[in-house]
């Protein structure tokens, strides 16, 4: 019989070892899946392309950073709410609304030059995302309606809204009725920081934001507040922390950041608004936040890891004609294993030869 004995203190070693164990188990599972589904292709070469390939080729490496940026930004915002037990699961919707808001400003000032345009678009995107998340905050504070369901329902609404906008007001007038906006002009496009690739300034901002969040959570009262609200709600109440404020601020922060990420995607790699704007980043960022144990610096690494699986997935799709949905399976599996391995932190696993 296997028994779980609670540890007196959380195991420090396991905090670092359990993610490595989870990664190893995911890789092993991937290996088993490949052995099953691959017939004439060598398993080792697919394996290599998927997990190592993006690191060896400069184009794929730049794409990895391009994909890590939105995951990092959204993941940071989500981690703040998750710490306080506020589950913003609809970051995808706030991302879409941010993209629409930022893009709409860019399209409104079409052909107007100016250094102020990008900051204005970013501001519109942040406000858009904040507004969208604030609906869930309002309903939770005023009516105690579960924010998981509200943010999720609003995600479906946001995607439909994007589609309506692209067939209506934001459609390219010269676009032969395709549901796409005009291509943004140069001053509405994010500066490229690596010549010849799609890597834009958003990546740098994402890293700065991680550092700010890290510092903020460590030093600022609000960081303390969300931590305590999440881990000891009763203590937080006695300490006089305002529950409603925590709900509002963490939803506003995560919504605003998701909105910013949506704008980066629209003004960066996409260069226009299309129905392809939602890329599941809002959902994948949930995995990113958990893998990092909600720690800002951890998110820096976990977003790179998940981005690696995205790019690797695209590579095996191109080279071996394998479906890119395999990435999603691995991401889901990684989260499963990760959650499972965490038991080793709080519990000791003991094999006891019991008499029953």
């Amino acid at each position: 019989m296997i028994k779980l004995i609670p540890r007196v203190e959380n195991s420090k070693a396991m905090i670092f070892l359990s993610p490595i164990l989870a990664l190893t188990l995911t890789a092993l599972s991937a290996l088993v899946i490949f052995i099953f589904i691959l017939e004439d292709i060598k398993v080792s070469s697919v394996f290599f392309t998927l997990f190592v390939g993006p690191l060896t080729d400069s184009y794929y490496f730049s794409e990895l950073l391009v994909k890590a940026a939105p995951l990092m930004i959204i993941g940071l915002g989500l981690s703040i709410g998750f710490r306080a037990g506020i589950w913003n699961i609809g970051a995808e919707g706030q991302y879409v609304i941010g993209g629409i808001a930022g893009g709409a400003v860019g399209l409104f000032f079409y052909d107007v030059e100016g250094f102020w345009l990008l900051p204005l678009m970013a501001l519109a995107a942040i406000i858009g995302g904040m507004f969208y998340a604030s609906i869930a905050a309002f309903l939770r504070i005023r009516y105690q309606v579960n924010e998981i369901l509200v943010t999720l329902m609003l995600t479906y609404v946001a995607v439909l809204f994007l589609s309506a906008m692209l067939q209506g007001p934001l459609r390219n007038p010269a676009g032969f009725n395709f549901p796409e906006s005009r291509i943004f002009h140069d001053s509405a496009m994010l500066p490229i920081i690596w010549e010849g690739t799609r890597l834009h300034i958003g990546f740098i901002i994402a890293i700065i934001l991680s550092l700010v969040a890290w510092f903020g959570i460590k030093k600022h009262m609000f960081g303390m507040q969300i931590k305590i609200t999440g881990s000891a709600p009763r203590a937080a109440k006695f300490a006089g922390f305002n529950d409603n404020k925590t709900v509002l601020y963490s939803l506003l922060i995560s919504g605003g950041l998701a909105g910013l990420a949506g704008f980066f995607e629209a003004s960066g790699p996409a260069g226009q608004l299309t129905p392809g704007l939602p890329q599941f980043y809002g959902f994948t960022a949930i995995i990113v936040a958990f893998l990092a144990r909600l720690h800002p610096i951890g998110i820096l690494f976990s977003s790179l890891l998940i981005a690696l699986s995205y790019v690797g997935g695209e590579e095996v799709q191109i080279e071996y004609n394998l479906p890119s949905s395999i990435t999603q399976i691995f991401q889901g599996m990684l989260l499963f294993y990760f959650l499972a391995c965490d038991i080793l932190i709080k519990y000791k696993v003991v094999l006891n030869k019991s008499k029953n």
């Binding site: 779980l4 609670p6 589950w87 699961i89 309903l139 009516y143 105690q144 309606v145 579960n146 998981i148 369901l149 509200v150 999720l152 329902m153 609003l154 479906y156 609404v157 439909l160 809204f161 589609s163 309506a164 067939q167 209506g168 959902f283 994948t284 949930i286 995995i287 958990f290 479906p323 949905s325 395999i326 990435t327 999603q328 399976i329 991401q331 889901g332 599996m333 989260l335 499963f336 959650l339 499972a340 965490d342 038991i343 709080k346 519990y347």
Partner: protein, 309 residues
């Protein structure tokens, strides 16, 4: 109103609401045992895929439905194992289950996106189904529609009329006390989660076996999440699930008919209705309860249980 239009609307509502009834009644039992499984969407899509594949290859509706049921159960067992034995966070694990289910079915179903199958047809009982008005209204639904109603009744009967049901509810309300008097909390919860998985799989299969004869990786379109909302709306009371599901079915049918009538609103705005309605309904429920705490919420919902003895 035109009689056949009325009957068509009723049939339309039954088709739109049945997947929600299946998924929600399963989740209701799970939540009554004190477990919150946010993986409904993922379990539904797996059921939809497996039902479709088996129907495509065997042409046997019975086997197809059975496969969907087993598929939902199988994927829910991952959640059950992780949350019950490895004591993982239920919110995170449920989300992982949804993401995994969506990825898995997109991957496993990639060869079937161009195929079509024979839909499961509504029943036709000689004489009974031919009675004017009453026949089509009572005796001519899809067999799975009747099954959904039966499941609601059975869950109610189990929860409130059997000893095991009483134990399950007591576990949901106070797992430590239930454990102390000798009930196996983990076993009850494990079984409840598997039942929830089977029902979600069945709800998913209804989409691909009755609603449309095709398979698409986004065909659940948030119905699993709406089902979760329905459980809250129903205040964890089985029969209210039917009421809520019919409300949603009604909105869906209304939206489809409005599109047909060429009302000058973009189709996208009409398609938003079911999602917005979910929010409105959850808010109206809270207004009705006038900010009192909801007494019917299982006390231990989402809490981790670990016996030290």
């Amino acid at each position: 109103m035109n009689e056949s239009l009325f009957i068509n609307i009723i049939i339309g509502i039954s088709i739109a609401s049945t997947p929600l009834i299946f998924a929600a009644i399963g989740e209701l039992l799970v939540e009554r045992s004190g477990v919150l499984n946010l993986g409904v969407e993922g379990m539904m899509i797996v059921g939809a895929l497996l039902g479709f594949i088996v129907q495509f290859h065997t042409g046997s509706p019975f086997l197809a439905v059975f496969a969907a049921l087993l598929g939902g159960m199988a994927i829910s067992s991952i959640f059950a194992f992780l949350t019950q034995f490895l004591l993982t966070n239920q919110v995170a694990t449920g989300l992982a289950l949804t993401l995994f289910g969506l990825g898995f079915s997109a991957f496993a179903g990639r060869g079937y996106t161009e195929e079509t199958i024979v839909l499961i047809k509504a029943i036709h009982i000689p004489f009974l189904s031919d009675i004017p008005f009453i026949g089509p209204l009572i005796f001519s639904f899809n067999p799975l529609v009747y099954l959904a109603f039966l499941m609601v009744y059975l869950v109610w009967w189990f929860l409130f009329k059997t000893k095991q049901g009483l134990i399950l509810r007591s576990i949901g309300d106070n797992h430590d006390a239930a454990h102390a008097i000798g009930h196996n909390v983990v076993r009850y919860r494990f079984m409840a989660i598997l039942f929830g998985g089977a029902m979600a799989g069945l709800g998913g299969a209804f989409l691909s076996l009755v609603q449309v004869p095709i398979w698409g990786e986004d065909m659940t379109a948030g119905r699993g999440w709406i089902a979760l909302g329905l459980v809250v709306f129903a205040s964890w009371q089985p029969f209210r699930i039917i009421l809520g599901a019919i409300l949603f079915g009604g909105i869906t049918v209304l939206q489809l008919h409005a599109q047909g009538f060429d009302i000058r609103i973009s189709a996208q705005y009409l398609s938003m209705l079911p999602y917005l309605a979910t929010i409105v309904i959850l808010v109206s429920l809270r207004i009705r309860l006038k900010n009192k705490t909801n007494r019917t919420v299982p006390n231990c919902l989402g809490r981790i249980f670990h016996s030290t003895s």
